[in-house]
Amino acid sequence: MNPAISNLVIMLVMMQVSKKLDFENPTTVFYVRVAFVSATIITLSVYLYTRSVILKKNDLTTLKFVSPPNSLAGETEGKLTVTTVKEYDLEQVQSAIKGVFTTLAMMGFMHLYMKYTNPLVMQSISPVKSAFESNIVQIHLFGKPASGDLKRPFKAASLFGGFGGNNDVKTDKSSIESAEKAGNGGVKQD
């Protein structure tokens, strides 16, 4: 099933579930907290384990791609990124781990300061789900081959279907070759 659709289904179900829960009851709140904390720990350990697998594999295959120009920064040409599979994967895991901590901070604020318990219910399921669904975990934990949808660089799931289809990362030979010698390095920032 498409992750976006399953996410939606889960969200609707969980909303109904959380309606039934009595958040005034300290016991309920306690169990919700336990659920959230254990979910966070599971997510984090999945990513950390994936990270250790990547480091162990030490795959130094060169990876080249042209990322789309950032139109907000006034760029007109895409920029070449040259990296290794290891470095690319580590970056992906790193950003996922960062995401876990961001969620943790946000939930901490919402729950401890604003006294909302509702979002904890939702956040006990979706991070775990998205961790297991993420490309990087699929490749390294489940040993799926890195081809097809899992081919690096991963396609970003765009919310708006990409503006004019211009947002794709390019990997074809000609665009890499032209971006390779663009000479846009060493720009001094002051």
Partner: protein, 451 residues
């Protein structure tokens, strides 16, 4: 316990320490004498403060010492090799390096065939500032785009003596290669290709011919060593600068250099690798003298430079055009604004601008001191309204001259009840009409405008 109460408790504790001293009445304190007062006073707080300051100084010194010892260690291990090759090693005979700051050091060697000079730049972590060091290390992990994790690096740059052919060739460590391309203009002009000898490095060069010819067995042997990839960042030969050119002269200047960028590690194995890499770099400068690219390859490479130059010229021209356009727009805006005014207002505006201009000019002149001569007011110049018979041969007059005002205002303070019409020796005085203010007996001064 909340922060507030915790803080107040600390204050209370401090006050308690001092209580004895402050409870003692003043006269008793006086009787105690200096030594007695010193004994009575509680010095805990001062000692804590002093201790903290000393700790900070000590940590600073330790950090600075660590940095410098790293530099000395590297240079000490490099000296035999450099001595063998160069006539002069170090900044002078006694000095091996210059300490630019606690985090950066420079050393130098010169006097060898084919090499103009060799420069070694050290960049070290901020060990002297422990807080900065820790903070950057932590933030660097989470936001690698913003702040780099502090690390030590060495850059060894050889400037060849003779002109070598323009081309870019580099062996780059795969770890961090994207960043090296972002940081160095010359690397971002090259094609990336795999090396045959190791999976840890790539070639970044302008021609495959360079990859085949500029590498030798010794270098391959060093690069194949697994420890080398912890040290070597890149080895490059370039005729273009590391910073993106912003002037045309950046292309024409002689930028030829051989660069060796390394991580600074000081264990004995790393030191021997650093030594052999520097050795290879020196040998490479000899190899370059004989090296000649095929004509068509060289032509292609030269074309890249002229194209880059054209690109730069276009950018410079565009910038100039934009500036001109902006100026034009500004003028147009002003004209448009003025055309909306009525003729009367336009007149006023012109007048105001003219005045402004004049004032500005005069302000330049008013810097000089104004001297007023003492003069005698002749009898017929002083017209006393009520006391027509009174005789004034001399009137006590004080002057204040404000030259910043326009026109100059000379204020004369004259005896009560007298309005004056004064003509100083060298300035024409236009006094207000005598009758106007004369009636007021309280008037103790008259304002005279001097043009």
């Amino acid at each position: 316990m909340s922060d507030q109460s915790y803080f107040s408790e600390v204050i209370q504790y401090i006050n308690k320490l001092q209580a004895d001293y402050y409870k003692t009445p003043l006269d008793q304190l006086n009787e105690l004498g200096l030594l007695g007062r010193i004994k009575l006073y509680d010095w805990h707080l001062e000692f804590i403060g002093l201790g903290l300051i000393l700790t900070i100084i000590l940590l600073f010194q330790i950090g600075a010492y660590l940095n410098q010892s790293k530099v000395s260690k590297i240079l000490k291990s490099l000296t035999p090799l450099l001595d063998e090759n160069f006539h002069q090693v170090g900044i002078s005979d006694e000095k091996l390096f210059i300490k630019d700051s606690i985090q950066s050091f420079t050393s130098y060697a010169t006097g060898r065939i084919n090499i103009s000079n060799l420069k070694i730049n050290f960049k070290l972590a901020p060990r002297q500032n422990l807080i900065q060091y820790l903070l950057e290390s932590i933030i660097g992990i989470f936001f690698p785009d913003w702040i780099e994790i502090p690390s030590d690096s060495i850059e060894i740059i050889i400037k060849p003596l003779n002109k070598i052919q323009p081309f870019i060739f580099a062996i780059v460590n795969k770890e961090g290669m994207n960043k090296f391309r972002d940081d160095n203009y010359f690397l971002s002009l090259t094609k990336i290709s795999e090396t045959i000898f190791s999976n840890n490095y790539v070639f970044m060069s302008e021609s495959n011919e360079l990859n085949e010819n500029l590498i030798n067995k010794d270098l391959i042997k060093i690069l194949s060593d697994n420890s080398t990839d912890k040290i070597l960042k890149y080895l490059a030969i370039t005729d273009l600068p590391s910073n993106k050119p912003i002037k045309e002269s950046d292309f024409t200047n002689d930028n030829n250099q051989l660069i060796l960028k390394l991580n600074l590690l000081t264990d004995s194995k790393s030191l021997s690798i650093i030594n052999s890499l520097v050795d290879q770099l020196i040998k490479l400068s000899d190899q370059l003298i004989k090296f000649q690219l095929k004509l068509d390859q060289q032509k292609k490479i030269n074309n890249v430079r002229s194209n880059e130059l054209i690109k730069l010229q276009k950018i410079i021209q565009d910038l100039k055009d934009e500036e001109l356009k902006e100026q034009k727009l500004e003028i147009e805006k002003q004209i448009k604004k003025n055309s909306k005014l009525s003729p009367d207002e336009l007149d006023k505006l012109e007048k105001r601008q003219k005045e402004k201009k004049e004032r500005r000019q005069r302000n330049k002149l008013t810097k000089r001191e104004v001297k007023v001569e003492v003069y005698e007011i002749s009898k017929d110049l002083v017209k006393a309204d009520e006391d027509e018979d009174a005789e004034f041969d001399k009137v006590d007059v004080t002057w204040t001259v404000d030259t910043a005002l326009d026109p100059f205002v000379v204020t004369l303070v004259v005896p009560l009840g007298i309005t004056t019409k004064v003509e100083p020796l060298d300035v024409k005085v236009e006094a207000p009409e005598t009758g106007d203010e004369a009636g007021d007996p309280d008037e103790d001064g008259a304002t005279v405008e001097v043009t």
